[in-house]
Protein backbone atom coordinates (compact mmCIF):
# COMPACT_ATOMS: atom_id res chain seq x y z
CA UNK A 1 0.00 0.00 0.00
CA UNK A 2 1.57 3.28 -1.03
CA UNK A 3 1.67 6.38 1.08
CA UNK A 4 -0.97 7.98 -1.14
CA UNK A 5 -3.58 5.31 -0.59
CA UNK A 6 -2.65 5.13 3.10
CA UNK A 7 -3.35 8.81 3.58
CA UNK A 8 -6.43 8.57 1.40
CA UNK A 9 -7.78 5.82 3.64
CA UNK A 10 -7.34 8.02 6.66
CA UNK A 11 -8.93 10.99 4.92
CA UNK A 12 -11.90 8.88 3.70
CA UNK A 13 -12.47 7.53 7.15
CA UNK A 14 -12.45 10.93 8.78
CA UNK A 15 -14.67 12.56 6.16
CA UNK A 16 -17.31 9.83 6.02
CA UNK A 17 -17.41 9.50 9.78
CA UNK A 18 -17.79 13.25 10.13
CA UNK A 19 -20.66 13.28 7.62
CA UNK A 20 -22.38 10.46 9.47
CA UNK A 21 -21.93 12.35 12.72
CA UNK A 22 -23.47 15.40 11.10
CA UNK A 23 -26.54 13.42 10.06
CA UNK A 24 -26.95 12.07 13.57
CA UNK A 25 -26.42 15.49 15.08
CA UNK A 26 -29.10 16.87 12.77
CA UNK A 27 -31.46 14.24 14.10
CA UNK A 28 -30.68 15.29 17.64
CA UNK A 29 -32.46 18.57 17.07
CA UNK A 30 -35.45 17.16 15.23
CA UNK A 31 -38.76 16.57 16.89
CA UNK A 32 -39.16 12.98 18.00
CA UNK A 33 -42.02 11.13 16.34
CA UNK A 34 -42.98 8.90 19.23
CA UNK A 35 -46.61 8.59 20.15
CA UNK A 36 -46.72 7.98 23.87
CA UNK A 37 -49.45 5.43 23.75
CA UNK A 38 -51.45 4.49 25.76
CA UNK A 39 -51.48 6.82 28.71
CA UNK A 40 -50.05 10.05 27.36
CA UNK A 41 -51.95 10.73 24.19
CA UNK A 42 -53.56 14.17 24.03
CA UNK A 43 -56.75 14.49 26.07
CA UNK A 44 -59.91 13.46 24.38
CA UNK A 45 -58.16 11.61 21.60
CA UNK A 46 -58.72 7.92 21.27
CA UNK A 47 -56.15 6.31 19.03
CA UNK A 48 -58.89 4.12 17.61
CA UNK A 49 -60.64 7.21 16.30
CA UNK A 50 -57.61 8.30 14.35
CA UNK A 51 -57.37 5.09 12.36
CA UNK A 52 -58.60 5.09 8.78
CA UNK A 53 -62.02 3.85 7.77
CA UNK A 54 -60.74 0.64 6.22
CA UNK A 55 -58.69 -0.40 9.20
CA UNK A 56 -59.16 -4.11 9.78
CA UNK A 57 -59.31 -4.32 13.53
CA UNK A 58 -61.42 -6.67 15.59
CA UNK A 59 -64.64 -7.94 14.09
CA UNK A 60 -68.01 -6.68 15.21
CA UNK A 61 -71.46 -7.97 14.29
CA UNK A 62 -74.55 -5.75 14.28
CA UNK A 63 -76.95 -8.58 14.94
CA UNK A 64 -79.97 -6.35 14.34
CA UNK A 65 -79.23 -6.21 10.61
CA UNK A 66 -77.80 -9.71 10.19
CA UNK A 67 -79.79 -11.70 7.61
CA UNK A 68 -78.34 -15.09 8.64
CA UNK A 69 -77.30 -15.76 5.07
CA UNK A 70 -74.17 -17.53 6.33
CA UNK A 71 -72.06 -15.95 3.57
CA UNK A 72 -69.44 -14.92 6.11
CA UNK A 73 -69.29 -18.41 7.61
CA UNK A 74 -68.69 -19.88 4.16
CA UNK A 75 -66.14 -17.26 3.20
CA UNK A 76 -63.94 -17.60 6.27
CA UNK A 77 -60.89 -19.70 5.38
CA UNK A 78 -60.17 -20.57 9.00
CA UNK A 79 -63.71 -21.50 10.05
CA UNK A 80 -63.66 -19.15 12.98
CA UNK A 81 -67.29 -18.07 12.49
CA UNK A 82 -69.97 -20.46 13.70
CA UNK A 83 -73.60 -19.57 13.11
CA UNK A 84 -76.61 -21.65 14.05
CA UNK A 85 -79.75 -20.54 12.28
CA UNK A 86 -82.96 -22.56 11.95
CA UNK A 87 -86.13 -21.83 10.07
CA UNK A 88 -88.89 -21.09 12.52
CA UNK A 89 -92.31 -20.68 10.87
CA UNK A 90 -93.82 -19.44 14.09
CA UNK A 91 -91.31 -16.63 14.46
CA UNK A 92 -91.56 -15.85 10.76
CA UNK A 93 -88.13 -16.57 9.37
CA UNK A 94 -84.65 -17.67 10.34
CA UNK A 95 -83.85 -17.62 14.02
CA UNK A 96 -80.25 -17.43 15.06
CA UNK A 97 -79.24 -19.22 18.22
CA UNK A 98 -75.51 -18.92 17.88
CA UNK A 99 -73.17 -16.45 16.23
CA UNK A 100 -69.68 -17.04 17.57
CA UNK A 101 -66.48 -15.61 16.22
CA UNK A 102 -63.29 -17.06 17.66
CA UNK A 103 -61.04 -13.99 17.65
CA UNK A 104 -58.07 -16.15 18.60
CA UNK A 105 -58.29 -17.81 15.21
CA UNK A 106 -59.31 -14.79 13.18
CA UNK A 107 -56.58 -13.54 10.89
CA UNK A 108 -58.24 -10.20 10.12
CA UNK A 109 -58.33 -10.87 6.39
CA UNK A 110 -61.71 -9.28 5.72
CA UNK A 111 -63.08 -12.12 3.59
CA UNK A 112 -66.15 -12.34 5.82
CA UNK A 113 -67.12 -8.70 5.54
CA UNK A 114 -66.97 -8.60 1.74
CA UNK A 115 -69.96 -10.81 0.92
CA UNK A 116 -72.18 -9.50 3.72
CA UNK A 117 -75.34 -8.07 2.12
CA UNK A 118 -76.00 -5.50 4.84
CA UNK A 119 -72.57 -4.92 6.32
CA UNK A 120 -73.61 -6.45 9.64
CA UNK A 121 -70.24 -8.08 10.09
CA UNK A 122 -67.49 -5.56 9.73
CA UNK A 123 -64.06 -4.72 11.02
CA UNK A 124 -63.76 -2.00 13.61
CA UNK A 125 -60.74 0.13 14.49
CA UNK A 126 -60.58 -1.69 17.81
CA UNK A 127 -57.23 -3.41 18.26
CA UNK A 128 -56.89 -3.68 22.02
CA UNK A 129 -58.01 -7.25 22.39
CA UNK A 130 -55.44 -8.72 24.75
CA UNK A 131 -56.92 -10.81 27.49
CA UNK A 132 -55.84 -13.34 30.05
CA UNK A 133 -57.71 -16.40 28.87
CA UNK A 134 -58.13 -17.97 25.46
CA UNK A 135 -61.81 -18.72 26.09
CA UNK A 136 -62.63 -15.07 26.56
CA UNK A 137 -61.51 -14.42 23.00
CA UNK A 138 -64.53 -16.23 21.59
CA UNK A 139 -67.05 -13.48 21.00
CA UNK A 140 -70.59 -14.65 21.29
CA UNK A 141 -72.93 -12.17 19.63
CA UNK A 142 -76.24 -13.93 20.19
CA UNK A 143 -77.61 -13.36 23.72
CA UNK A 144 -81.04 -14.82 23.10
CA UNK A 145 -82.48 -16.39 19.95
CA UNK A 146 -82.81 -13.59 17.46
CA UNK A 147 -84.88 -13.27 14.35
CA UNK A 148 -82.81 -12.66 11.25
CA UNK A 149 -83.20 -9.32 9.54
CA UNK A 150 -85.21 -9.00 6.35
CA UNK A 151 -84.19 -6.07 4.16
CA UNK A 152 -87.25 -3.91 3.40
CA UNK A 153 -88.06 -2.77 -0.07
CA UNK A 154 -87.73 0.96 -0.37
CA UNK A 155 -85.18 1.41 2.36
CA UNK A 156 -85.21 0.97 6.09
CA UNK A 157 -87.31 3.37 8.14
CA UNK A 158 -86.77 2.06 11.67
CA UNK A 159 -84.79 4.79 13.51
CA UNK A 160 -82.60 2.23 15.28
CA UNK A 161 -81.87 0.07 12.27
CA UNK A 162 -81.50 2.75 9.62
CA UNK A 163 -78.21 4.22 10.82
CA UNK A 164 -76.76 0.73 11.36
CA UNK A 165 -77.77 -0.26 7.86
CA UNK A 166 -76.43 2.95 6.40
CA UNK A 167 -73.09 2.45 8.05
CA UNK A 168 -72.97 -1.21 7.11
CA UNK A 169 -73.78 -0.54 3.48
CA UNK A 170 -71.17 2.22 3.36
CA UNK A 171 -68.62 -0.28 4.65
CA UNK A 172 -69.56 -2.98 2.17
CA UNK A 173 -69.80 -0.66 -0.80
CA UNK A 174 -66.28 0.58 -0.11
CA UNK A 175 -65.05 -2.73 -1.50
CA UNK A 176 -64.17 -2.86 -5.17
CA UNK A 177 -67.14 -3.32 -7.46
CA UNK A 178 -66.76 -4.49 -11.06
CA UNK A 179 -69.57 -2.15 -12.08
CA UNK A 180 -68.20 0.95 -10.44
CA UNK A 181 -65.59 3.17 -12.05
CA UNK A 182 -63.03 4.97 -10.00
CA UNK A 183 -61.24 8.08 -11.15
CA UNK A 184 -58.20 10.10 -10.25
CA UNK A 185 -55.56 9.12 -7.76
Amino acid sequence: MGLGSYLRNIADTVVTIADGLAVTASHLVRKPVTVEYPDRVPDGVRVQDTLPFRYRGMLEVDLEICTACLACERACPIDCIVIDAVKDKAAGGLVMTRFDIDMAKCMYCGLCSEPCPTGAIHHTPEFEGADYSLESLVRRFVKEPTLAYRPKKGGETDPVLAPLLERGLAYVSDFADPDRSGSGA
Binding site: Y55, S183, A185
Partner: protein, 387 residues
Protein backbone atom coordinates in the same frame (compact mmCIF):
# COMPACT_ATOMS: atom_id res chain seq x y z
CA UNK B 1 -25.41 -32.28 16.18
CA UNK B 2 -27.05 -35.66 16.08
CA UNK B 3 -29.28 -34.97 13.09
CA UNK B 4 -29.20 -37.53 10.35
CA UNK B 5 -27.48 -36.21 7.29
CA UNK B 6 -26.24 -33.23 9.22
CA UNK B 7 -22.97 -34.49 10.54
CA UNK B 8 -20.30 -31.89 10.28
CA UNK B 9 -16.90 -33.26 9.50
CA UNK B 10 -14.55 -31.85 12.05
CA UNK B 11 -10.96 -31.72 10.91
CA UNK B 12 -7.98 -32.17 13.11
CA UNK B 13 -4.56 -30.96 12.20
CA UNK B 14 -1.26 -31.62 13.85
CA UNK B 15 0.89 -28.54 13.78
CA UNK B 16 4.64 -28.50 14.09
CA UNK B 17 5.69 -29.53 17.55
CA UNK B 18 2.86 -32.02 17.96
CA UNK B 19 0.16 -29.43 18.76
CA UNK B 20 -3.18 -30.92 17.72
CA UNK B 21 -5.82 -28.40 16.71
CA UNK B 22 -9.42 -29.10 15.98
CA UNK B 23 -12.13 -27.12 14.29
CA UNK B 24 -14.76 -25.48 16.42
CA UNK B 25 -18.36 -26.34 15.71
CA UNK B 26 -20.64 -23.45 16.49
CA UNK B 27 -24.35 -23.30 16.42
CA UNK B 28 -25.80 -20.05 15.19
CA UNK B 29 -29.11 -21.17 16.47
CA UNK B 30 -32.66 -20.50 15.45
CA UNK B 31 -32.82 -17.77 18.04
CA UNK B 32 -30.20 -15.28 17.06
CA UNK B 33 -30.37 -11.52 16.73
CA UNK B 34 -29.14 -11.39 13.20
CA UNK B 35 -30.34 -14.38 11.27
CA UNK B 36 -33.35 -12.81 9.64
CA UNK B 37 -36.04 -14.92 11.13
CA UNK B 38 -35.60 -18.41 12.49
CA UNK B 39 -32.65 -19.75 10.57
CA UNK B 40 -30.03 -22.03 11.94
CA UNK B 41 -26.47 -22.33 10.78
CA UNK B 42 -24.05 -25.00 11.88
CA UNK B 43 -20.69 -23.35 11.49
CA UNK B 44 -17.41 -25.20 11.40
CA UNK B 45 -14.73 -22.66 12.11
CA UNK B 46 -11.02 -22.49 12.71
CA UNK B 47 -11.10 -19.74 15.30
CA UNK B 48 -12.63 -16.73 13.59
CA UNK B 49 -12.28 -18.04 10.05
CA UNK B 50 -15.09 -20.28 8.88
CA UNK B 51 -14.55 -23.42 6.93
CA UNK B 52 -18.20 -24.09 6.31
CA UNK B 53 -21.58 -22.78 7.35
CA UNK B 54 -24.39 -25.23 6.79
CA UNK B 55 -27.90 -23.81 6.86
CA UNK B 56 -30.62 -25.73 8.62
CA UNK B 57 -33.98 -24.55 7.39
CA UNK B 58 -37.50 -25.51 8.25
CA UNK B 59 -38.08 -23.76 11.56
CA UNK B 60 -40.75 -21.59 10.02
CA UNK B 61 -42.40 -24.18 7.81
CA UNK B 62 -46.16 -23.76 8.04
CA UNK B 63 -47.36 -25.99 5.18
CA UNK B 64 -48.76 -23.00 3.35
CA UNK B 65 -48.69 -24.80 0.03
CA UNK B 66 -50.78 -27.61 1.49
CA UNK B 67 -53.18 -25.17 3.06
CA UNK B 68 -53.92 -23.83 -0.42
CA UNK B 69 -55.50 -27.16 -1.23
CA UNK B 70 -57.81 -26.83 1.76
CA UNK B 71 -59.08 -23.27 1.74
CA UNK B 72 -59.88 -22.69 -1.87
CA UNK B 73 -58.93 -20.06 -4.40
CA UNK B 74 -60.27 -16.95 -2.71
CA UNK B 75 -59.51 -18.14 0.78
CA UNK B 76 -55.86 -18.64 0.02
CA UNK B 77 -55.18 -14.98 -0.69
CA UNK B 78 -54.75 -14.00 2.98
CA UNK B 79 -52.36 -16.92 3.37
CA UNK B 80 -50.18 -15.64 0.57
CA UNK B 81 -49.46 -12.60 2.74
CA UNK B 82 -47.72 -14.90 5.16
CA UNK B 83 -45.53 -16.54 2.53
CA UNK B 84 -43.28 -13.52 2.67
CA UNK B 85 -44.70 -11.17 5.22
CA UNK B 86 -42.06 -8.56 4.61
CA UNK B 87 -43.20 -8.07 1.02
CA UNK B 88 -46.74 -9.34 1.10
CA UNK B 89 -48.20 -7.53 -1.89
CA UNK B 90 -46.05 -9.45 -4.34
CA UNK B 91 -47.29 -12.75 -3.01
CA UNK B 92 -50.89 -11.58 -3.31
CA UNK B 93 -50.11 -10.48 -6.85
CA UNK B 94 -48.52 -13.78 -7.83
CA UNK B 95 -51.42 -15.90 -6.64
CA UNK B 96 -54.01 -13.58 -8.14
CA UNK B 97 -52.18 -13.57 -11.47
CA UNK B 98 -51.98 -17.36 -11.46
CA UNK B 99 -55.71 -17.70 -10.84
CA UNK B 100 -56.49 -15.16 -13.54
CA UNK B 101 -54.28 -16.92 -16.02
CA UNK B 102 -55.94 -20.25 -15.29
CA UNK B 103 -59.40 -18.82 -15.71
CA UNK B 104 -58.61 -16.38 -18.47
CA UNK B 105 -59.71 -13.30 -16.58
CA UNK B 106 -58.49 -9.88 -17.68
CA UNK B 107 -57.85 -7.34 -14.96
CA UNK B 108 -59.11 -3.81 -15.73
CA UNK B 109 -56.35 -1.27 -16.39
CA UNK B 110 -57.11 0.80 -13.35
CA UNK B 111 -56.89 -2.35 -11.28
CA UNK B 112 -53.50 -3.10 -12.77
CA UNK B 113 -52.29 0.38 -11.93
CA UNK B 114 -53.52 -0.02 -8.36
CA UNK B 115 -51.62 -3.27 -8.22
CA UNK B 116 -48.41 -1.66 -9.44
CA UNK B 117 -48.77 1.18 -6.94
CA UNK B 118 -49.24 -1.32 -4.14
CA UNK B 119 -46.34 -3.44 -5.41
CA UNK B 120 -43.90 -0.60 -5.60
CA UNK B 121 -44.90 0.73 -2.20
CA UNK B 122 -44.30 -2.73 -0.88
CA UNK B 123 -40.92 -2.84 -2.56
CA UNK B 124 -39.99 0.33 -0.69
CA UNK B 125 -41.34 -1.23 2.47
CA UNK B 126 -39.26 -4.36 2.06
CA UNK B 127 -36.07 -2.69 0.93
CA UNK B 128 -36.20 -0.25 3.83
CA UNK B 129 -36.33 -3.17 6.21
CA UNK B 130 -33.60 -5.02 4.38
CA UNK B 131 -31.26 -2.08 4.21
CA UNK B 132 -31.96 -1.11 7.80
CA UNK B 133 -31.45 -4.62 9.14
CA UNK B 134 -28.20 -4.88 7.28
CA UNK B 135 -26.91 -1.77 8.96
CA UNK B 136 -28.10 -3.04 12.33
CA UNK B 137 -26.44 -6.40 11.86
CA UNK B 138 -23.18 -4.64 11.22
CA UNK B 139 -23.50 -2.61 14.39
CA UNK B 140 -25.06 0.66 13.29
CA UNK B 141 -28.39 0.82 15.07
CA UNK B 142 -29.43 4.32 14.09
CA UNK B 143 -29.92 3.75 10.34
CA UNK B 144 -32.25 0.90 11.25
CA UNK B 145 -34.46 3.18 13.30
CA UNK B 146 -34.49 5.76 10.55
CA UNK B 147 -35.58 3.12 8.05
CA UNK B 148 -38.29 1.90 10.41
CA UNK B 149 -39.49 5.45 10.90
CA UNK B 150 -39.95 5.85 7.16
CA UNK B 151 -41.66 2.51 7.05
CA UNK B 152 -44.14 3.80 9.59
CA UNK B 153 -45.22 6.50 7.17
CA UNK B 154 -45.65 3.83 4.52
CA UNK B 155 -47.62 1.79 7.02
CA UNK B 156 -49.98 4.70 7.48
CA UNK B 157 -50.51 4.79 3.72
CA UNK B 158 -51.13 1.05 3.61
CA UNK B 159 -53.64 1.35 6.42
CA UNK B 160 -55.57 3.86 4.38
CA UNK B 161 -55.36 1.74 1.28
CA UNK B 162 -56.28 -1.68 2.58
CA UNK B 163 -56.69 -1.53 6.33
CA UNK B 164 -53.64 -3.50 7.43
CA UNK B 165 -49.97 -2.84 8.05
CA UNK B 166 -48.36 -6.18 7.43
CA UNK B 167 -50.72 -8.76 5.99
CA UNK B 168 -52.34 -6.60 3.39
CA UNK B 169 -54.68 -8.93 1.49
CA UNK B 170 -55.12 -6.02 -0.87
CA UNK B 171 -55.39 -7.90 -4.13
CA UNK B 172 -58.22 -10.10 -5.18
CA UNK B 173 -58.63 -12.51 -8.03
CA UNK B 174 -59.55 -10.24 -10.89
CA UNK B 175 -58.15 -6.98 -9.51
CA UNK B 176 -57.77 -5.36 -6.15
CA UNK B 177 -59.97 -5.29 -3.09
CA UNK B 178 -60.45 -1.53 -2.78
CA UNK B 179 -60.01 1.43 -5.05
CA UNK B 180 -57.57 4.14 -4.01
CA UNK B 181 -59.22 6.10 -1.21
CA UNK B 182 -59.91 9.80 -1.81
CA UNK B 183 -56.83 11.94 -1.25
CA UNK B 184 -54.49 8.97 -1.47
CA UNK B 185 -52.59 10.30 -4.46
CA UNK B 186 -51.78 13.54 -2.64
CA UNK B 187 -50.70 11.70 0.47
CA UNK B 188 -48.49 9.35 -1.51
CA UNK B 189 -46.96 12.23 -3.46
CA UNK B 190 -46.32 14.06 -0.20
CA UNK B 191 -44.65 10.98 1.22
CA UNK B 192 -42.44 10.61 -1.85
CA UNK B 193 -41.44 14.28 -1.69
CA UNK B 194 -40.38 13.75 1.88
CA UNK B 195 -38.80 10.37 1.35
CA UNK B 196 -36.54 10.80 -1.66
CA UNK B 197 -34.12 13.23 0.01
CA UNK B 198 -34.02 10.91 3.00
CA UNK B 199 -32.59 8.13 0.83
CA UNK B 200 -29.70 10.48 0.10
CA UNK B 201 -29.37 11.22 3.78
CA UNK B 202 -29.34 7.52 4.52
CA UNK B 203 -26.55 7.12 1.99
CA UNK B 204 -24.53 9.80 3.69
CA UNK B 205 -25.11 8.31 7.09
CA UNK B 206 -24.19 4.75 6.39
CA UNK B 207 -23.89 3.59 2.78
CA UNK B 208 -20.57 5.24 2.03
CA UNK B 209 -19.27 5.21 5.58
CA UNK B 210 -15.71 3.91 5.42
CA UNK B 211 -16.15 1.36 8.19
CA UNK B 212 -19.32 0.07 6.55
CA UNK B 213 -17.81 -0.20 3.10
CA UNK B 214 -14.75 -1.92 4.50
CA UNK B 215 -17.07 -4.51 6.04
CA UNK B 216 -18.87 -5.10 2.76
CA UNK B 217 -16.53 -4.44 -0.12
CA UNK B 218 -14.94 -7.56 -1.51
CA UNK B 219 -16.78 -9.82 0.91
CA UNK B 220 -18.60 -12.92 -0.37
CA UNK B 221 -18.13 -12.21 -4.04
CA UNK B 222 -20.64 -13.99 -6.24
CA UNK B 223 -19.44 -14.11 -9.80
CA UNK B 224 -22.04 -13.68 -12.54
CA UNK B 225 -21.69 -17.31 -13.59
CA UNK B 226 -22.16 -18.51 -10.02
CA UNK B 227 -25.18 -16.31 -9.63
CA UNK B 228 -26.80 -17.94 -12.63
CA UNK B 229 -25.73 -21.44 -11.64
CA UNK B 230 -27.17 -21.09 -8.16
CA UNK B 231 -30.42 -19.64 -9.43
CA UNK B 232 -30.12 -16.32 -7.67
CA UNK B 233 -32.70 -13.70 -8.53
CA UNK B 234 -33.53 -10.12 -7.83
CA UNK B 235 -31.01 -7.79 -6.20
CA UNK B 236 -28.73 -10.78 -5.52
CA UNK B 237 -28.48 -11.45 -9.25
CA UNK B 238 -28.33 -7.82 -10.23
CA UNK B 239 -25.62 -7.21 -7.68
CA UNK B 240 -23.40 -9.50 -9.71
CA UNK B 241 -23.88 -7.35 -12.76
CA UNK B 242 -26.59 -9.28 -14.58
CA UNK B 243 -29.32 -6.92 -15.68
CA UNK B 244 -32.30 -9.23 -15.39
CA UNK B 245 -35.59 -8.03 -13.99
CA UNK B 246 -38.89 -9.80 -14.52
CA UNK B 247 -40.60 -6.43 -14.86
CA UNK B 248 -38.42 -5.67 -17.85
CA UNK B 249 -37.63 -9.05 -19.39
CA UNK B 250 -40.87 -10.96 -18.85
CA UNK B 251 -43.23 -8.09 -18.21
CA UNK B 252 -46.58 -8.43 -16.58
CA UNK B 253 -49.27 -6.02 -15.50
CA UNK B 254 -48.68 -2.46 -16.79
CA UNK B 255 -44.90 -2.39 -16.43
CA UNK B 256 -44.38 -2.07 -20.20
CA UNK B 257 -46.02 1.35 -19.95
CA UNK B 258 -43.73 2.54 -17.21
CA UNK B 259 -40.29 3.99 -17.58
CA UNK B 260 -37.67 2.92 -15.06
CA UNK B 261 -34.06 1.83 -14.83
CA UNK B 262 -32.87 -1.50 -13.53
CA UNK B 263 -29.86 -0.84 -11.29
CA UNK B 264 -27.04 -3.36 -11.31
CA UNK B 265 -23.92 -3.68 -9.26
CA UNK B 266 -20.77 -2.26 -10.78
CA UNK B 267 -18.13 -3.34 -8.31
CA UNK B 268 -17.54 0.32 -7.57
CA UNK B 269 -15.99 -0.10 -4.14
CA UNK B 270 -14.60 -3.60 -4.31
CA UNK B 271 -15.21 -6.59 -6.51
CA UNK B 272 -18.27 -7.01 -8.74
CA UNK B 273 -20.78 -9.13 -6.90
CA UNK B 274 -19.71 -8.41 -3.34
CA UNK B 275 -22.00 -7.58 -0.45
CA UNK B 276 -21.76 -3.87 -1.09
CA UNK B 277 -23.05 -4.26 -4.63
CA UNK B 278 -26.11 -6.17 -3.50
CA UNK B 279 -26.73 -3.57 -0.82
CA UNK B 280 -26.37 -0.56 -3.10
CA UNK B 281 -28.61 -2.16 -5.73
CA UNK B 282 -31.37 -2.21 -3.14
CA UNK B 283 -30.85 1.42 -2.25
CA UNK B 284 -30.96 2.38 -5.91
CA UNK B 285 -34.05 0.27 -6.46
CA UNK B 286 -35.77 2.33 -3.82
CA UNK B 287 -35.18 5.43 -5.90
CA UNK B 288 -36.53 3.70 -9.00
CA UNK B 289 -39.62 2.63 -7.08
CA UNK B 290 -40.26 6.23 -6.15
CA UNK B 291 -40.02 7.10 -9.84
CA UNK B 292 -42.46 4.37 -10.81
CA UNK B 293 -44.91 5.48 -8.14
CA UNK B 294 -44.94 9.02 -9.39
CA UNK B 295 -45.57 7.83 -12.94
CA UNK B 296 -48.42 5.63 -11.81
CA UNK B 297 -50.05 8.48 -9.96
CA UNK B 298 -49.92 10.57 -13.11
CA UNK B 299 -50.96 7.86 -15.55
CA UNK B 300 -53.61 5.98 -13.63
CA UNK B 301 -56.73 5.74 -15.81
CA UNK B 302 -60.35 5.79 -14.74
CA UNK B 303 -62.38 2.64 -14.63
CA UNK B 304 -63.26 -0.30 -12.43
CA UNK B 305 -60.58 -1.91 -10.34
CA UNK B 306 -61.82 -5.49 -10.35
CA UNK B 307 -63.22 -7.82 -12.96
CA UNK B 308 -66.30 -9.93 -12.45
CA UNK B 309 -65.19 -13.10 -10.73
CA UNK B 310 -67.69 -15.59 -9.35
CA UNK B 311 -67.58 -16.17 -5.65
CA UNK B 312 -67.59 -19.88 -6.40
CA UNK B 313 -64.44 -19.67 -8.47
CA UNK B 314 -63.70 -22.82 -10.48
CA UNK B 315 -60.97 -22.34 -13.07
CA UNK B 316 -60.76 -25.01 -15.76
CA UNK B 317 -58.32 -27.85 -15.17
CA UNK B 318 -54.79 -27.04 -16.14
CA UNK B 319 -51.65 -25.51 -14.76
CA UNK B 320 -49.76 -22.30 -15.05
CA UNK B 321 -46.55 -20.70 -13.91
CA UNK B 322 -46.46 -16.99 -13.30
CA UNK B 323 -43.62 -14.84 -12.09
CA UNK B 324 -43.59 -11.55 -10.26
CA UNK B 325 -40.59 -9.41 -9.43
CA UNK B 326 -40.81 -9.48 -5.67
CA UNK B 327 -38.52 -7.40 -3.50
CA UNK B 328 -36.39 -10.50 -3.17
CA UNK B 329 -36.45 -11.25 -6.86
CA UNK B 330 -38.32 -13.49 -9.20
CA UNK B 331 -41.07 -15.24 -7.26
CA UNK B 332 -42.63 -18.08 -9.19
CA UNK B 333 -46.09 -19.52 -8.65
CA UNK B 334 -46.85 -22.88 -10.18
CA UNK B 335 -50.55 -23.61 -9.70
CA UNK B 336 -52.38 -26.70 -10.82
CA UNK B 337 -56.13 -26.70 -11.04
CA UNK B 338 -58.36 -29.75 -11.38
CA UNK B 339 -61.51 -27.82 -12.13
CA UNK B 340 -62.85 -27.82 -8.59
CA UNK B 341 -63.21 -25.01 -6.09
CA UNK B 342 -59.93 -26.04 -4.46
CA UNK B 343 -56.49 -25.85 -6.07
CA UNK B 344 -54.89 -29.18 -6.74
CA UNK B 345 -51.35 -28.01 -6.01
CA UNK B 346 -49.58 -24.77 -5.46
CA UNK B 347 -45.82 -24.54 -5.53
CA UNK B 348 -44.04 -21.33 -4.68
CA UNK B 349 -40.53 -20.69 -5.85
CA UNK B 350 -38.81 -18.02 -3.80
CA UNK B 351 -35.53 -16.22 -4.25
CA UNK B 352 -34.37 -16.65 -0.66
CA UNK B 353 -34.42 -20.43 -0.89
CA UNK B 354 -31.91 -20.38 -3.72
CA UNK B 355 -29.86 -17.74 -1.97
CA UNK B 356 -29.54 -19.69 1.24
CA UNK B 357 -28.37 -22.70 -0.71
CA UNK B 358 -25.35 -20.67 -1.69
CA UNK B 359 -24.22 -19.98 1.88
CA UNK B 360 -22.04 -23.11 2.33
CA UNK B 361 -20.16 -22.18 -0.80
CA UNK B 362 -19.83 -18.50 0.05
CA UNK B 363 -18.84 -18.98 3.64
CA UNK B 364 -15.60 -20.78 3.00
CA UNK B 365 -12.80 -18.57 4.16
CA UNK B 366 -15.03 -15.83 5.53
CA UNK B 367 -14.91 -14.68 9.11
CA UNK B 368 -17.80 -15.09 11.48
CA UNK B 369 -18.59 -11.43 11.31
CA UNK B 370 -18.81 -11.74 7.54
CA UNK B 371 -21.41 -14.48 7.77
CA UNK B 372 -23.74 -11.95 9.28
CA UNK B 373 -22.99 -9.52 6.48
CA UNK B 374 -23.61 -12.20 3.86
CA UNK B 375 -26.94 -13.26 5.32
CA UNK B 376 -28.04 -9.66 5.42
CA UNK B 377 -26.80 -8.85 1.92
CA UNK B 378 -28.63 -11.81 0.41
CA UNK B 379 -31.78 -10.49 2.11
CA UNK B 380 -32.87 -13.86 3.39
CA UNK B 381 -36.20 -13.95 5.08
CA UNK B 382 -37.10 -17.15 6.85
CA UNK B 383 -40.80 -17.20 5.92
CA UNK B 384 -39.91 -17.19 2.27
CA UNK B 385 -37.38 -19.98 2.67
CA UNK B 386 -39.58 -22.27 4.69
CA UNK B 387 -43.11 -21.31 3.67
Amino acid sequence: MGLAGFEVEVQRQTEGGGLVTEDMTLNMGPQHPSTHGVLRFVVRADGEVMKEALPDVGYLHRSIEKIAEKVGWHGFLPYTDRVDYVAAMFCNHGWAMACEQLAGIAVPRRGEYCRVIADEMCRLHSHLLSVGSMAMDLGAFTPFTHAIREREYLNDLFEELCGARLTFHYMRIGGVGWDLPPGFGDKLAHFLDRFEPLIDEYDRLISYNKIYTERLAGVAVISPQDAIDYNLVGPNLRGSGIRYDVRRDDPYSVYPELDFEVPVGRGELGVLGDCFDRYIVRVREMRESCRILRQCLRQIPDGPVIAKVPRNFKPPAGDCYVRVESARGDMGWYVVSDGTAFPHRCKIRTGSFAAISMIPRLSRGLMLADLVAVIASLDLVAPEIDR
